[in-house]
Protein backbone atom coordinates (compact mmCIF):
# COMPACT_ATOMS: atom_id res chain seq x y z
CA UNK A 1 0.00 0.00 0.00
CA UNK A 2 1.35 3.33 -0.94
CA UNK A 3 1.59 5.88 1.84
CA UNK A 4 1.60 8.72 -0.64
CA UNK A 5 -1.45 7.51 -2.48
CA UNK A 6 -4.45 6.71 -0.34
CA UNK A 7 -5.56 8.75 2.63
CA UNK A 8 -2.94 11.45 2.17
CA UNK A 9 -3.95 13.41 -0.89
CA UNK A 10 -1.59 16.29 -0.19
CA UNK A 11 1.53 14.25 0.54
CA UNK A 12 3.12 14.87 -2.83
CA UNK A 13 2.29 18.56 -2.86
CA UNK A 14 3.64 18.94 0.67
CA UNK A 15 6.81 17.18 -0.35
CA UNK A 16 7.31 19.49 -3.31
CA UNK A 17 6.55 22.57 -1.21
CA UNK A 18 9.08 21.45 1.38
CA UNK A 19 11.75 21.20 -1.31
CA UNK A 20 11.09 24.78 -2.37
CA UNK A 21 11.13 26.06 1.19
CA UNK A 22 14.50 24.43 1.81
CA UNK A 23 15.91 25.79 -1.45
CA UNK A 24 14.64 29.24 -0.47
CA UNK A 25 16.48 29.00 2.87
CA UNK A 26 19.72 28.13 1.15
CA UNK A 27 19.57 30.80 -1.52
CA UNK A 28 18.11 33.52 0.70
CA UNK A 29 20.93 33.26 3.23
CA UNK A 30 23.51 33.76 0.52
CA UNK A 31 21.49 36.37 -1.35
CA UNK A 32 20.90 38.59 1.71
CA UNK A 33 24.58 38.84 2.38
CA UNK A 34 25.49 39.43 -1.25
CA UNK A 35 22.96 42.27 -1.42
CA UNK A 36 24.37 43.83 1.75
CA UNK A 37 27.92 43.58 0.43
CA UNK A 38 26.81 45.07 -2.87
CA UNK A 39 25.31 48.04 -1.01
CA UNK A 40 28.54 48.43 0.92
CA UNK A 41 30.55 48.54 -2.31
CA UNK A 42 28.31 51.36 -3.48
CA UNK A 43 29.05 53.29 -0.28
CA UNK A 44 32.79 52.78 -0.66
CA UNK A 45 32.76 53.86 -4.30
CA UNK A 46 34.77 57.01 -4.80
CA UNK A 47 36.34 56.83 -1.35
CA UNK A 48 38.71 53.97 -2.02
CA UNK A 49 41.63 55.45 -3.91
CA UNK A 50 45.41 55.64 -3.77
CA UNK A 51 45.26 58.51 -1.30
CA UNK A 52 43.17 56.31 1.05
CA UNK A 53 45.82 53.61 1.05
CA UNK A 54 48.74 55.96 1.66
CA UNK A 55 47.30 58.34 4.28
CA UNK A 56 47.09 58.13 8.02
CA UNK A 57 43.78 58.42 9.80
CA UNK A 58 42.43 61.95 10.18
CA UNK A 59 40.25 63.50 12.81
CA UNK A 60 39.58 66.57 10.75
CA UNK A 61 38.32 65.46 7.39
CA UNK A 62 36.91 62.16 6.19
CA UNK A 63 38.40 62.93 2.79
CA UNK A 64 41.92 62.91 4.17
CA UNK A 65 41.56 59.74 6.26
CA UNK A 66 43.39 56.62 5.18
CA UNK A 67 44.42 53.14 6.21
CA UNK A 68 48.21 53.41 6.05
CA UNK A 69 48.87 52.78 9.75
CA UNK A 70 46.21 50.09 9.95
CA UNK A 71 47.45 48.29 6.86
CA UNK A 72 51.04 48.21 8.05
CA UNK A 73 49.95 47.29 11.57
CA UNK A 74 47.85 44.39 10.27
CA UNK A 75 50.70 43.06 8.14
CA UNK A 76 53.09 43.19 11.14
CA UNK A 77 50.46 41.48 13.31
CA UNK A 78 49.71 38.57 11.02
CA UNK A 79 53.39 38.03 10.21
CA UNK A 80 54.27 37.77 13.91
CA UNK A 81 51.17 35.68 14.63
CA UNK A 82 52.14 33.20 11.91
CA UNK A 83 55.69 33.12 13.26
CA UNK A 84 54.43 32.17 16.74
CA UNK A 85 51.59 29.82 15.85
CA UNK A 86 52.95 27.77 12.97
CA UNK A 87 55.85 26.02 14.76
CA UNK A 88 53.89 25.43 17.96
CA UNK A 89 50.66 24.45 16.22
CA UNK A 90 52.25 22.08 13.71
CA UNK A 91 54.50 20.70 16.45
CA UNK A 92 51.55 19.96 18.69
CA UNK A 93 49.74 18.30 15.80
CA UNK A 94 52.77 16.11 14.96
CA UNK A 95 53.08 15.12 18.59
CA UNK A 96 49.42 14.20 18.92
CA UNK A 97 49.23 12.29 15.63
CA UNK A 98 52.64 10.61 15.48
CA UNK A 99 54.02 10.32 19.00
CA UNK A 100 51.26 10.24 21.58
CA UNK A 101 49.83 6.82 22.30
CA UNK A 102 46.05 6.63 22.42
CA UNK A 103 46.08 7.21 26.12
CA UNK A 104 43.98 9.23 28.52
CA UNK A 105 46.57 12.04 28.31
CA UNK A 106 46.12 12.30 24.55
CA UNK A 107 42.35 12.32 24.95
CA UNK A 108 42.66 15.07 27.52
CA UNK A 109 44.85 17.26 25.29
CA UNK A 110 42.53 16.66 22.35
CA UNK A 111 39.41 17.63 24.32
CA UNK A 112 41.24 20.65 25.63
CA UNK A 113 42.08 21.83 22.11
CA UNK A 114 38.49 21.32 20.97
CA UNK A 115 37.31 23.42 23.91
CA UNK A 116 39.90 26.14 23.25
CA UNK A 117 38.59 26.41 19.70
CA UNK A 118 35.21 27.36 21.16
CA UNK A 119 36.43 30.02 23.59
CA UNK A 120 35.23 33.47 22.41
CA UNK A 121 38.00 35.68 21.10
CA UNK A 122 37.17 38.42 23.60
CA UNK A 123 38.13 36.04 26.43
CA UNK A 124 41.54 35.58 24.78
CA UNK A 125 41.69 39.36 24.69
CA UNK A 126 41.16 39.51 28.46
CA UNK A 127 43.83 36.85 28.87
CA UNK A 128 46.19 38.92 26.72
CA UNK A 129 45.42 42.00 28.80
CA UNK A 130 46.12 40.23 32.08
CA UNK A 131 49.05 38.11 30.90
CA UNK A 132 50.98 40.04 28.25
CA UNK A 133 50.04 43.69 28.67
CA UNK A 134 49.83 43.93 32.46
CA UNK A 135 51.52 40.72 33.67
CA UNK A 136 54.59 40.78 31.41
CA UNK A 137 54.55 44.59 31.03
CA UNK A 138 54.67 44.44 27.23
CA UNK A 139 52.20 47.31 26.87
CA UNK A 140 49.56 47.34 24.17
CA UNK A 141 52.15 47.00 21.41
CA UNK A 142 52.46 44.89 18.28
CA UNK A 143 54.07 42.03 20.21
CA UNK A 144 51.30 41.79 22.80
CA UNK A 145 48.72 41.95 20.00
CA UNK A 146 50.40 39.22 17.99
CA UNK A 147 50.82 36.97 21.04
CA UNK A 148 47.14 37.37 21.90
CA UNK A 149 46.07 36.62 18.33
CA UNK A 150 48.39 33.59 18.35
CA UNK A 151 46.44 32.14 21.24
CA UNK A 152 43.17 32.77 19.37
CA UNK A 153 44.25 30.90 16.24
CA UNK A 154 46.42 28.17 17.78
CA UNK A 155 43.57 25.59 17.97
CA UNK A 156 42.73 26.25 14.30
CA UNK A 157 46.31 25.47 13.22
CA UNK A 158 46.54 22.37 15.43
CA UNK A 159 43.23 20.88 14.27
CA UNK A 160 43.92 21.53 10.57
CA UNK A 161 47.46 20.12 10.77
CA UNK A 162 46.21 17.02 12.57
CA UNK A 163 43.68 16.42 9.85
CA UNK A 164 46.34 16.84 7.17
CA UNK A 165 48.68 14.38 8.91
CA UNK A 166 45.87 11.87 9.38
CA UNK A 167 45.25 11.94 5.62
CA UNK A 168 48.79 10.69 4.87
CA UNK A 169 48.45 6.93 4.31
CA UNK A 170 50.10 4.60 6.76
CA UNK A 171 52.02 2.83 3.99
CA UNK A 172 54.23 5.92 3.66
CA UNK A 173 55.26 5.62 7.31
CA UNK A 174 55.84 1.87 7.04
CA UNK A 175 57.91 2.23 3.86
CA UNK A 176 60.05 4.93 5.46
CA UNK A 177 60.65 2.87 8.59
CA UNK A 178 61.41 -0.19 6.47
CA UNK A 179 64.21 1.74 4.78
CA UNK A 180 65.76 2.43 8.16
CA UNK A 181 64.60 6.01 8.69
CA UNK A 182 64.04 7.14 12.25
CA UNK A 183 60.77 8.54 13.47
CA UNK A 184 61.84 12.17 13.06
CA UNK A 185 63.37 11.50 9.63
CA UNK A 186 60.07 9.97 8.58
CA UNK A 187 58.18 12.99 9.84
CA UNK A 188 60.50 15.58 8.35
CA UNK A 189 61.18 13.97 4.97
CA UNK A 190 57.92 12.12 4.31
CA UNK A 191 54.96 13.12 6.42
CA UNK A 192 55.34 16.90 6.62
CA UNK A 193 55.94 17.35 2.85
CA UNK A 194 52.97 15.09 2.11
CA UNK A 195 50.74 16.94 4.58
CA UNK A 196 51.98 20.39 3.47
CA UNK A 197 49.02 21.45 1.33
CA UNK A 198 46.60 20.65 4.13
CA UNK A 199 48.74 22.34 6.75
CA UNK A 200 49.17 25.44 4.55
CA UNK A 201 45.42 25.67 4.06
CA UNK A 202 44.91 25.51 7.81
CA UNK A 203 47.59 28.12 8.45
CA UNK A 204 46.09 30.50 5.91
CA UNK A 205 42.66 29.97 7.42
CA UNK A 206 44.14 30.84 10.81
CA UNK A 207 45.88 33.94 9.45
CA UNK A 208 42.63 35.09 7.84
CA UNK A 209 40.95 34.72 11.20
CA UNK A 210 43.72 36.72 12.89
CA UNK A 211 43.49 39.41 10.22
CA UNK A 212 39.78 39.96 10.89
CA UNK A 213 39.78 39.82 14.70
CA UNK A 214 39.14 43.15 16.38
CA UNK A 215 37.78 42.06 19.77
CA UNK A 216 41.04 40.74 21.30
CA UNK A 217 42.87 43.86 20.13
CA UNK A 218 40.29 46.17 21.69
CA UNK A 219 40.50 44.15 24.91
CA UNK A 220 44.27 44.46 25.23
CA UNK A 221 43.84 48.20 24.76
CA UNK A 222 45.32 48.66 21.29
CA UNK A 223 45.19 52.28 20.22
CA UNK A 224 42.41 53.43 17.95
CA UNK A 225 44.03 56.53 16.54
CA UNK A 226 47.61 56.14 15.34
CA UNK A 227 49.48 58.62 13.18
CA UNK A 228 52.76 56.73 12.80
CA UNK A 229 54.02 53.35 11.68
CA UNK A 230 55.23 50.93 14.37
CA UNK A 231 59.02 50.74 14.31
CA UNK A 232 59.60 48.22 17.08
CA UNK A 233 57.64 45.30 18.47
CA UNK A 234 56.50 47.25 21.54
CA UNK A 235 55.24 50.28 19.63
CA UNK A 236 51.62 51.25 19.67
CA UNK A 237 49.74 50.14 16.61
CA UNK A 238 46.34 49.92 15.00
CA UNK A 239 44.97 47.22 12.71
CA UNK A 240 42.42 47.17 9.91
CA UNK A 241 39.49 45.67 11.86
CA UNK A 242 40.21 48.02 14.75
CA UNK A 243 40.32 51.03 12.46
CA UNK A 244 37.05 49.95 10.82
CA UNK A 245 35.46 49.60 14.25
CA UNK A 246 36.48 53.13 15.20
CA UNK A 247 35.20 54.59 11.96
CA UNK A 248 31.91 52.73 12.28
CA UNK A 249 31.50 54.11 15.81
CA UNK A 250 32.16 57.64 14.59
CA UNK A 251 29.06 59.83 14.73
CA UNK A 252 30.17 61.66 11.59
CA UNK A 253 28.28 59.94 8.79
CA UNK A 254 31.06 60.43 6.25
CA UNK A 255 33.33 58.31 8.44
CA UNK A 256 30.60 55.91 9.50
CA UNK A 257 29.14 55.20 6.07
CA UNK A 258 31.87 55.78 3.55
CA UNK A 259 35.34 55.69 5.10
CA UNK A 260 34.43 52.56 7.09
CA UNK A 261 33.10 50.91 3.92
CA UNK A 262 36.33 51.70 2.08
CA UNK A 263 38.30 50.21 4.99
CA UNK A 264 36.16 47.06 4.89
CA UNK A 265 36.83 46.66 1.18
CA UNK A 266 40.59 46.81 1.84
CA UNK A 267 40.21 44.16 4.55
CA UNK A 268 38.04 41.91 2.38
CA UNK A 269 40.45 42.21 -0.54
CA UNK A 270 43.31 41.11 1.73
CA UNK A 271 41.22 38.15 2.93
CA UNK A 272 40.34 37.16 -0.63
CA UNK A 273 44.03 37.33 -1.61
CA UNK A 274 44.97 35.07 1.31
CA UNK A 275 42.30 32.55 0.36
CA UNK A 276 43.39 32.67 -3.28
CA UNK A 277 46.91 31.80 -2.13
CA UNK A 278 45.46 28.85 -0.18
CA UNK A 279 43.58 27.58 -3.22
CA UNK A 280 46.68 27.96 -5.38
CA UNK A 281 48.92 26.14 -2.89
CA UNK A 282 46.46 23.29 -2.58
CA UNK A 283 46.35 23.01 -6.34
CA UNK A 284 50.11 23.38 -6.89
CA UNK A 285 51.34 21.02 -4.17
CA UNK A 286 48.32 18.76 -4.15
CA UNK A 287 48.96 17.80 -7.76
CA UNK A 288 52.30 16.16 -7.09
CA UNK A 289 50.99 13.67 -4.57
CA UNK A 290 48.81 10.80 -5.62
CA UNK A 291 47.95 7.73 -3.68
Amino acid sequence: MSLAGRGRPYAKAASAAFAYVCALCAFASVAVLLILIGQMLRFAWGWLDFQFLTSFDSQLSAHRAGVKAALVGSVYLIALTALFTVPVGVGAAVYLEEYAARSRWRGFVQTNIANLAGVPSIVYGILGLGLFVRGMHLGAGVLAGALTLSLVVLPVVILASQEALRAVPNTIRQASFALGATKWQTIWHQLLPAALPGIMTGVILAISRALGEAAPLVAIGAAGFVMFLPAGVNDKFTALPLQIYNWTENANEEFQFHVAAAGIIVLLVMLICLNAVAVYLRYRFGKRIRW
Binding site: L3, A11, A14, S15, F18, C22, A23, L24, C25, A26, S29, L33, L36, M40, P87, G89, G91, A92, Y95, E97, Y99, A100, A101, R106, V109, N112, I113, A114, N115, L116, V119, P120, I122, V123, G125, I126, L127, L129, G130, L131, R134, L154, G180, T182, W184, T186, L205, R209, G212, E213, A215, V218, A219, G221, P241, I244, E249, Q256, I264, L267
Partner: protein, 309 residues
Protein backbone atom coordinates in the same frame (compact mmCIF):
# COMPACT_ATOMS: atom_id res chain seq x y z
CA UNK B 1 54.72 9.14 29.00
CA UNK B 2 54.92 6.27 26.62
CA UNK B 3 56.84 6.74 23.40
CA UNK B 4 55.06 3.95 21.61
CA UNK B 5 54.04 5.16 18.17
CA UNK B 6 50.34 5.46 17.77
CA UNK B 7 49.96 4.63 14.14
CA UNK B 8 52.83 2.37 13.21
CA UNK B 9 52.89 -1.25 14.12
CA UNK B 10 56.54 -1.71 14.99
CA UNK B 11 59.03 0.50 16.71
CA UNK B 12 61.67 1.45 14.14
CA UNK B 13 65.23 0.29 14.57
CA UNK B 14 67.35 3.34 15.30
CA UNK B 15 70.81 3.12 13.85
CA UNK B 16 73.85 4.58 15.57
CA UNK B 17 75.35 8.01 15.10
CA UNK B 18 74.26 11.54 15.95
CA UNK B 19 70.59 10.82 15.34
CA UNK B 20 70.35 9.09 18.65
CA UNK B 21 70.19 12.24 20.74
CA UNK B 22 68.16 14.06 18.12
CA UNK B 23 65.23 11.70 18.33
CA UNK B 24 64.39 12.14 22.02
CA UNK B 25 65.12 15.87 21.64
CA UNK B 26 62.50 16.26 18.92
CA UNK B 27 60.11 14.09 20.87
CA UNK B 28 60.54 16.38 23.85
CA UNK B 29 60.16 19.57 21.82
CA UNK B 30 56.97 18.35 20.17
CA UNK B 31 55.64 17.26 23.54
CA UNK B 32 56.22 20.82 24.77
CA UNK B 33 54.24 22.17 21.81
CA UNK B 34 51.28 19.98 22.74
CA UNK B 35 51.68 21.03 26.35
CA UNK B 36 51.48 24.69 25.28
CA UNK B 37 47.79 24.25 24.47
CA UNK B 38 47.17 22.93 27.96
CA UNK B 39 49.03 25.93 29.38
CA UNK B 40 46.78 28.29 27.45
CA UNK B 41 43.76 26.77 29.17
CA UNK B 42 45.40 26.86 32.57
CA UNK B 43 46.36 30.51 32.15
CA UNK B 44 42.87 31.48 30.97
CA UNK B 45 41.35 29.86 34.05
CA UNK B 46 44.00 31.23 36.42
CA UNK B 47 43.89 34.82 35.19
CA UNK B 48 40.09 34.91 35.14
CA UNK B 49 39.86 33.33 38.59
CA UNK B 50 42.54 35.41 40.32
CA UNK B 51 41.13 38.78 39.23
CA UNK B 52 37.54 37.63 39.74
CA UNK B 53 38.34 36.56 43.29
CA UNK B 54 39.59 40.07 43.97
CA UNK B 55 36.31 41.34 42.60
CA UNK B 56 34.21 38.94 44.66
CA UNK B 57 36.02 40.02 47.78
CA UNK B 58 34.28 43.37 47.38
CA UNK B 59 31.06 42.34 45.68
CA UNK B 60 29.23 39.28 46.92
CA UNK B 61 28.63 36.45 44.46
CA UNK B 62 24.93 36.51 45.29
CA UNK B 63 24.68 40.21 44.49
CA UNK B 64 26.64 39.67 41.26
CA UNK B 65 24.46 36.80 40.07
CA UNK B 66 21.08 38.09 41.21
CA UNK B 67 21.41 41.87 41.03
CA UNK B 68 19.16 43.50 38.47
CA UNK B 69 21.09 46.73 38.05
CA UNK B 70 24.46 47.06 36.33
CA UNK B 71 25.91 50.49 37.05
CA UNK B 72 29.67 50.02 37.43
CA UNK B 73 30.48 53.71 37.04
CA UNK B 74 27.78 55.16 39.28
CA UNK B 75 28.25 55.95 42.96
CA UNK B 76 27.42 53.75 44.68
CA UNK B 77 28.30 51.29 41.93
CA UNK B 78 25.99 48.33 41.48
CA UNK B 79 27.13 45.08 40.00
CA UNK B 80 24.22 42.82 39.10
CA UNK B 81 25.07 40.85 35.97
CA UNK B 82 21.46 40.03 35.07
CA UNK B 83 21.01 43.00 32.68
CA UNK B 84 24.14 42.01 30.75
CA UNK B 85 23.19 38.32 30.80
CA UNK B 86 19.70 39.26 29.67
CA UNK B 87 21.15 41.27 26.78
CA UNK B 88 23.29 38.34 25.69
CA UNK B 89 20.32 35.99 26.01
CA UNK B 90 18.05 38.28 24.01
CA UNK B 91 20.50 38.63 21.12
CA UNK B 92 21.38 34.92 21.15
CA UNK B 93 17.77 33.75 21.31
CA UNK B 94 16.79 36.10 18.47
CA UNK B 95 19.69 34.89 16.34
CA UNK B 96 18.84 31.25 17.09
CA UNK B 97 15.18 31.72 16.17
CA UNK B 98 16.20 33.11 12.78
CA UNK B 99 19.26 30.99 12.02
CA UNK B 100 18.23 27.52 13.22
CA UNK B 101 15.23 26.94 10.93
CA UNK B 102 16.94 28.65 7.98
CA UNK B 103 20.20 26.83 8.57
CA UNK B 104 18.52 23.45 8.88
CA UNK B 105 16.42 24.13 5.78
CA UNK B 106 19.49 25.13 3.80
CA UNK B 107 21.40 22.08 5.07
CA UNK B 108 18.53 19.76 4.06
CA UNK B 109 18.41 21.41 0.64
CA UNK B 110 22.15 21.01 0.08
CA UNK B 111 22.23 17.43 1.32
CA UNK B 112 18.97 16.01 -0.06
CA UNK B 113 17.83 18.14 -2.98
CA UNK B 114 20.62 20.17 -4.56
CA UNK B 115 22.28 18.92 -7.72
CA UNK B 116 26.05 18.36 -7.36
CA UNK B 117 26.74 21.54 -9.34
CA UNK B 118 24.60 23.73 -7.08
CA UNK B 119 26.14 22.14 -4.00
CA UNK B 120 29.67 22.66 -5.32
CA UNK B 121 28.92 26.35 -5.79
CA UNK B 122 26.89 27.06 -2.64
CA UNK B 123 29.10 25.21 -0.15
CA UNK B 124 32.29 27.16 -0.90
CA UNK B 125 30.31 30.41 -1.02
CA UNK B 126 28.94 29.65 2.47
CA UNK B 127 32.45 28.87 3.67
CA UNK B 128 33.68 32.22 2.36
CA UNK B 129 30.78 33.95 4.12
CA UNK B 130 31.79 32.20 7.34
CA UNK B 131 35.18 33.91 7.05
CA UNK B 132 33.87 37.49 6.93
CA UNK B 133 35.10 39.31 10.05
CA UNK B 134 32.69 40.22 12.82
CA UNK B 135 33.37 43.94 12.58
CA UNK B 136 32.07 43.94 9.00
CA UNK B 137 28.75 42.61 10.26
CA UNK B 138 28.72 45.41 12.82
CA UNK B 139 28.97 47.91 9.98
CA UNK B 140 26.20 46.17 8.03
CA UNK B 141 23.97 46.19 11.11
CA UNK B 142 24.34 49.91 11.71
CA UNK B 143 24.33 51.16 8.16
CA UNK B 144 21.80 48.85 6.46
CA UNK B 145 19.85 46.73 8.92
CA UNK B 146 19.06 49.38 11.54
CA UNK B 147 17.24 51.66 9.03
CA UNK B 148 15.19 48.70 7.78
CA UNK B 149 14.25 47.67 11.33
CA UNK B 150 13.33 51.24 12.19
CA UNK B 151 11.17 51.65 9.11
CA UNK B 152 9.25 48.51 10.09
CA UNK B 153 9.05 49.39 13.80
CA UNK B 154 9.20 53.19 14.17
CA UNK B 155 9.45 52.93 17.97
CA UNK B 156 12.74 50.99 17.79
CA UNK B 157 15.95 52.54 19.11
CA UNK B 158 18.77 53.23 16.62
CA UNK B 159 20.85 50.57 18.32
CA UNK B 160 18.67 47.65 19.29
CA UNK B 161 18.80 43.97 20.10
CA UNK B 162 16.93 42.96 16.94
CA UNK B 163 19.68 44.51 14.78
CA UNK B 164 22.22 42.43 16.59
CA UNK B 165 20.10 39.27 16.38
CA UNK B 166 19.75 39.62 12.63
CA UNK B 167 23.47 40.05 11.93
CA UNK B 168 24.47 37.36 14.41
CA UNK B 169 21.98 35.04 12.69
CA UNK B 170 23.67 35.74 9.34
CA UNK B 171 27.04 35.06 10.99
CA UNK B 172 26.16 31.71 12.57
CA UNK B 173 24.12 30.43 9.63
CA UNK B 174 27.08 29.09 7.59
CA UNK B 175 28.25 27.17 10.64
CA UNK B 176 24.88 25.46 11.13
CA UNK B 177 24.55 24.70 7.41
CA UNK B 178 28.02 23.30 7.05
CA UNK B 179 28.00 21.10 10.17
CA UNK B 180 24.41 19.88 9.70
CA UNK B 181 24.94 19.13 6.04
CA UNK B 182 27.92 16.94 6.88
CA UNK B 183 25.90 14.80 9.30
CA UNK B 184 22.85 14.64 7.00
CA UNK B 185 25.00 13.37 4.16
CA UNK B 186 26.62 10.76 6.35
CA UNK B 187 23.25 9.07 6.91
CA UNK B 188 23.55 5.88 4.83
CA UNK B 189 21.63 5.58 1.57
CA UNK B 190 20.12 2.27 2.62
CA UNK B 191 17.96 4.05 5.21
CA UNK B 192 16.56 6.39 2.57
CA UNK B 193 15.99 3.57 0.11
CA UNK B 194 14.25 1.49 2.74
CA UNK B 195 11.82 4.33 3.39
CA UNK B 196 11.19 4.91 -0.32
CA UNK B 197 10.50 1.19 -0.70
CA UNK B 198 7.70 1.57 1.83
CA UNK B 199 6.13 4.23 -0.34
CA UNK B 200 7.25 7.34 1.52
CA UNK B 201 7.48 10.70 -0.24
CA UNK B 202 10.72 12.66 -0.20
CA UNK B 203 9.32 14.79 2.63
CA UNK B 204 8.52 11.66 4.67
CA UNK B 205 12.02 10.34 4.07
CA UNK B 206 13.75 13.60 4.95
CA UNK B 207 11.68 14.61 7.96
CA UNK B 208 10.91 11.11 9.21
CA UNK B 209 14.13 9.22 8.56
CA UNK B 210 17.15 11.31 7.58
CA UNK B 211 16.79 14.19 10.04
CA UNK B 212 16.04 11.94 13.06
CA UNK B 213 18.99 9.73 12.10
CA UNK B 214 21.29 12.76 12.07
CA UNK B 215 19.66 14.48 15.03
CA UNK B 216 22.60 14.28 17.43
CA UNK B 217 24.92 15.98 14.95
CA UNK B 218 22.31 18.58 14.10
CA UNK B 219 21.75 19.37 17.78
CA UNK B 220 25.49 19.68 18.29
CA UNK B 221 25.72 22.12 15.38
CA UNK B 222 22.96 24.24 16.95
CA UNK B 223 24.75 24.30 20.30
CA UNK B 224 28.09 25.23 18.73
CA UNK B 225 26.38 28.02 16.78
CA UNK B 226 24.67 29.29 19.95
CA UNK B 227 28.01 29.25 21.77
CA UNK B 228 29.44 31.33 18.95
CA UNK B 229 26.52 33.77 19.22
CA UNK B 230 27.04 34.14 22.97
CA UNK B 231 30.71 34.99 22.48
CA UNK B 232 30.12 37.22 19.46
CA UNK B 233 31.60 40.61 20.20
CA UNK B 234 32.23 43.31 17.63
CA UNK B 235 29.02 43.02 15.62
CA UNK B 236 26.94 42.96 18.79
CA UNK B 237 28.84 45.85 20.36
CA UNK B 238 28.22 48.02 17.33
CA UNK B 239 24.63 46.94 16.68
CA UNK B 240 22.98 46.56 20.07
CA UNK B 241 24.03 49.69 21.92
CA UNK B 242 25.53 50.41 25.31
CA UNK B 243 22.62 50.49 27.70
CA UNK B 244 22.61 47.60 30.17
CA UNK B 245 19.00 46.98 31.02
CA UNK B 246 16.76 44.13 32.00
CA UNK B 247 14.33 43.89 29.12
CA UNK B 248 12.96 41.29 26.75
CA UNK B 249 11.92 43.86 24.16
CA UNK B 250 14.18 43.32 21.12
CA UNK B 251 13.54 46.84 19.86
CA UNK B 252 15.29 48.44 22.81
CA UNK B 253 18.93 49.28 23.16
CA UNK B 254 20.74 46.78 25.40
CA UNK B 255 24.29 45.78 26.32
CA UNK B 256 25.68 42.25 26.18
CA UNK B 257 28.46 40.82 28.34
CA UNK B 258 30.91 41.00 25.43
CA UNK B 259 29.95 44.59 24.65
CA UNK B 260 30.55 45.59 28.26
CA UNK B 261 34.07 44.15 28.12
CA UNK B 262 34.78 46.10 24.94
CA UNK B 263 33.38 49.34 26.37
CA UNK B 264 35.42 49.03 29.55
CA UNK B 265 38.72 47.98 28.01
CA UNK B 266 38.51 50.76 25.43
CA UNK B 267 38.93 53.35 28.12
CA UNK B 268 42.29 52.55 29.71
CA UNK B 269 41.26 51.20 33.13
CA UNK B 270 44.03 51.13 35.75
CA UNK B 271 44.97 47.75 37.14
CA UNK B 272 43.73 46.87 40.60
CA UNK B 273 40.58 48.97 40.43
CA UNK B 274 37.14 47.46 40.73
CA UNK B 275 36.43 48.59 37.14
CA UNK B 276 39.38 46.53 35.91
CA UNK B 277 38.26 43.49 37.89
CA UNK B 278 34.69 43.59 36.57
CA UNK B 279 36.07 42.70 33.11
CA UNK B 280 37.44 39.48 34.51
CA UNK B 281 34.29 38.62 36.46
CA UNK B 282 32.17 39.18 33.34
CA UNK B 283 34.77 37.33 31.26
CA UNK B 284 34.63 34.38 33.63
CA UNK B 285 30.84 34.22 33.31
CA UNK B 286 31.14 34.35 29.53
CA UNK B 287 33.87 31.69 29.51
CA UNK B 288 31.84 29.32 31.66
CA UNK B 289 28.70 29.82 29.56
CA UNK B 290 30.42 29.08 26.25
CA UNK B 291 32.42 26.22 27.77
CA UNK B 292 29.23 24.56 29.04
CA UNK B 293 27.64 24.83 25.59
CA UNK B 294 30.72 23.42 23.87
CA UNK B 295 31.10 20.56 26.33
CA UNK B 296 27.42 19.70 25.96
CA UNK B 297 27.78 19.70 22.15
CA UNK B 298 30.76 17.36 22.35
CA UNK B 299 28.96 15.12 24.83
CA UNK B 300 25.98 14.81 22.49
CA UNK B 301 28.27 13.99 19.58
CA UNK B 302 30.10 11.35 21.55
CA UNK B 303 27.27 9.62 23.40
CA UNK B 304 24.12 10.11 21.36
CA UNK B 305 25.45 9.49 17.87
CA UNK B 306 23.61 6.76 15.99
CA UNK B 307 26.14 4.36 14.54
CA UNK B 308 25.64 2.84 11.11
CA UNK B 309 27.68 0.28 9.27
Amino acid sequence: MSSAPSVTAEKPVVSGGPRRWGEPLMHGLLWLCALASVFVTISIVLILLVESLEFFRQVSVVEFLSGTVWEPHATPARFGILPLACGTLLVTAGAAIIAIPMGLGAAIYLSEYATPVVRDVLKPVLEILAGIPSVVFGYLAIVFISPIVRSLFPQADVFNALNASIVVAIMILPMIVSLSEDVLRSVPRSLREGAYALGATKLDVTAGVVVPAALSGIMASFLLAIARAVGETMAVTLAAGKRPQLTLNPLESIQTMTAYIVETTKGDVPRGTLGYQTIFAVGLTLFLATLALNVLAQWILKHMREKYE
